[in-house]
């Protein structure tokens, strides 16, 4: 029987007592899947230690909260490992299924986190909505030196924002691609088609920003496109996650979260 995700997390965190740790060591000696999970977790820990601490905006928590709600076991905190009776045991099912569940759990977390970090990096800084419209004409008007400087600053911020969004999208796509999951073909085709629609919108907006860097509608449209794509990708990952676990009802509920993001 495999240790559950909590045990493996604690193992990676070096929080287990010697007896528990020895049990996990013994199990991992013969279990490549658990070894891989622990390696993944350690990689996460190593990378985390190098991250800059940032304060997320309040709205970022709603998506994180939703992802956490997708994983009821997270809230139940059930632990089970045959090497330690005090930790209890998981109910029936194969160890493989539990491992899949474990992986599913942190995948759901990753999807949420991608948006969380993105919002942290971009959401606070890039808030053009209440700014006066900055067209190229305005930027070149008399006394426009300051405006030009401001536009340049905005463009720089926009490029930084783009980079963050690009990375978020890459992260989510990587998460999804690593999961060879089982979506209904029609649903998969629909999602693919609509991601292409969003890609087209992003492409148009990007071209507009390149041709008119100070255009607020172009900037806002580009950011909206990124947000929408991230939202759909995040939900796609969540959907794949539920289907992979065989939780069709959960998948249907995920569908209720499949909506336009970016508000």
């Amino acid at each position: 029987m495999h240790p559950n995700e909590t045990i493996l997390n604690d193992y990676a965190d070096d929080l287990l007592d010697p007896v528990e740790r020895a049990g996990v060591d013994q199990h991992m000696a013969a279990c490549a899947a658990c070894r891989q999970t622990v390696e993944d977790l350690r990689e996460i820990l190593g990378a985390a230690s190098e991250l800059e601490l940032r304060e997320p905006p309040v709205r970022a928590w709603s998506r994180l909260e939703r992802a956490i709600k997708m994983e009821p076991r997270l809230e139940s905190g059930a632990r089970g490992f045959p090497l330690d009776g005090a930790r209890g045991r998981q109910p029936g099912g194969s160890g493989g299924a539990r491992l899949k569940g474990s992986r599913s759990m942190w995948i759901a977390g990753l999807a949420a986190a991608a948006v969380l970090v993105l919002a942290t990096a971009v959401g606070v800084r890039y808030l053009p909505a209440n700014r006066t419209d900055a067209t190229p004409a305005a930027a070149s008007a008399p006394g426009g030196a300051a405006q030009s400087g401001a536009a340049q600053s905005i463009e720089t911020e926009l490029r930084q924002a783009e980079a963050h969004y690009e990375n978020a999208i890459k992260g989510l796509e990587a998460i999804a691609s690593s999961e060879q999951s089982e979506l209904d073909p029609r649903t998969a085709a629909t999602l693919q088609k609509n991601l292409a629609v969003i890609d087209q919108a992003i492409s148009e907006s990007r071209a507009a920003v390149r041709s008119q860097p100070a255009s607020e509608p172009a900037q806002q449209s580009l950011i909206d496109g990124f947000k929408t794509k991230i939202g759909l990708l995040q939900d796609t990952v969540a959907l794949i996650n539920e289907m992979r676990k065989g939780n069709e009802a959960g998948a249907a509920r995920i569908a209720s979260g499949l909506k336009q993001k970016g508000t």
């Binding site: 190098e50 990096a121 006066t132 783009e162 980079a163 992260g171 629609v197 148009e204 794509k229 569908a255």
Partner: protein, 356 residues
């Protein structure tokens, strides 16, 4: 570490990505990667509910006491759901399992009814091997026809199949992944969503907020009154008429948006569309402040607007005014008492404001 580890890992993916990955021209790469994702998940036979043989059916029928203010939920995988209302305090569940494969497949699909005080939960459950997309049970679909007391709250979920509810006066949530959602005379609608399919709402009156969305399909609502309405779609049209709300949020990537209805004093209405035309047909508006912009589309108003809040710049069918308030693609203006707020943005679509 527990929950924090994955969160931080995503942070790594986002914040500490290699510089080379920050090239801005990655759209094509994204498509390729996602195409791979989707292709890996394209497995035949999933939820098609059909095979090549004659249709085999098995009927299921059950009545359960739920009480007039109870809560009913139904989670289906493949097949349609139809909910209507009736008298009494029972929920009547009729279901038909269908397959065009071997009749024995039908027995491998169970309909589970959990009956607790004031609550009835129905689920379609397949044998454990259902997740093998080639398994025989994937050819079974289940169509439900349910009758509930009118005041019962209803929660309907499906993976592949349409969801339809009529006359339910308790709260209603309905969603499916592939299929249409049609809700009529459900005054306490909370949410109606689909990934691939249309959403059609008729005769909704609620004191609260309602949300409707589709990834690919259309959203149509007629005769809807709610405090707040949120509508979202990626590809498809949004068409709402005879609508009354204090707050509206609409987001669309590809498709037209038409809102025909009233605007409330102090109401806020935000519409964001990428490529579609946004048309606002307003019924006797007392007034609003308009902030509209479009990158390449035009902005037209059939209402006389005061540009930038300056009454000297009043105009008629097409607004022209001070440069800081309006240009060919951007407009800030006021109509009437300016009590409501309209924020409309498009990238390439036109924005049209007219009186209904």
């Amino acid at each position: 570490m527990r929950v924090t580890a994955p969160i931080v890992f995503a942070g790594l993916a986002l914040v500490a990505a290699p510089a080379a990955a920050q090239d801005h021209d990655h759209d094509q790469d994204h498509r390729i990667v996602l195409g791979d994702i989707i292709r890996t998940s394209l497995k035949p036979g999933a939820y098609q509910g059909r095979n090549n043989g004659p249709e085999q059916t098995e009927h299921f029928s059950r009545k359960v006491k739920i009480g007039r203010d109870g809560r009913f939920s139904l989670s289906n995988i493949a097949g349609d759901i139809v909910v209507t209302t009736g008298g009494g305090d029972e929920v009547s569940i009729d279901a038909v399992k269908k397959t065009r494969g071997d009749k024995s497949e039908l027995a491998r699909v169970q309909i589970t009814v959990d009956d607790r005080a004031g609550r009835v939960d129905v689920r379609t459950e397949y044998d454990q091997d259902r997740r093998d997309r080639g398994s025989r049970t994937n050819h079974v679909s289940v169509d439900y026809t349910v009758t509930v007391p009118a005041s019962v709250s209803v929660d309907l979920h499906s993976i592949s199949g349409s969801v339809k509810a009529t006359g339910v006066h308790g709260s209603v949530r309905a969603d499916t992944i592939s299929g249409n959602v049609t809700l009529t005379d459900v005054p306490k609608l909370e949410a109606a969503k689909t990934v691939s399919g249309d959403v059609l709402l008729t005769g909704i009156t609620t004191d609260g907020d309602l949300t409707a969305s589709s990834v690919s399909g259309s959203l149509r609502a007629k005769g809807v009154k709610a405090r707040g309405i949120d509508l979202g779609i990626i590809s498809g049209d949004i068409n709402v008429s005879d609508v009354t709300c204090e707050r509206l949020g609409v987001k669309s990537v590809s498709g037209n948006v038409e809102y025909a209805g009233t605007i409330a004093k102090s109401g806020r209405y935000e519409i964001n569309a990428h490529s579609g035309t946004v048309r606002l047909l307003l019924t006797n508006p007392a007034g609003f402040e308009l902030n509209a912009n479009s990158f390449s589309g035009s902005i037209r108003s059939e209402l006389p607007l005061t540009i930038g809040g300056d009454s000297s710049a009043r105009s008629g069918s097409t607004v022209r005014g001070r440069r800081d308030a309006v240009n060919s693609h951007s407009m800030r203006a006021t109509y009437g008492d300016g009590s409501a707020t309209l924020v409309v943005r498009t990238f390439s679509g036109d924005i049209i404001i007219a009186k209904r």
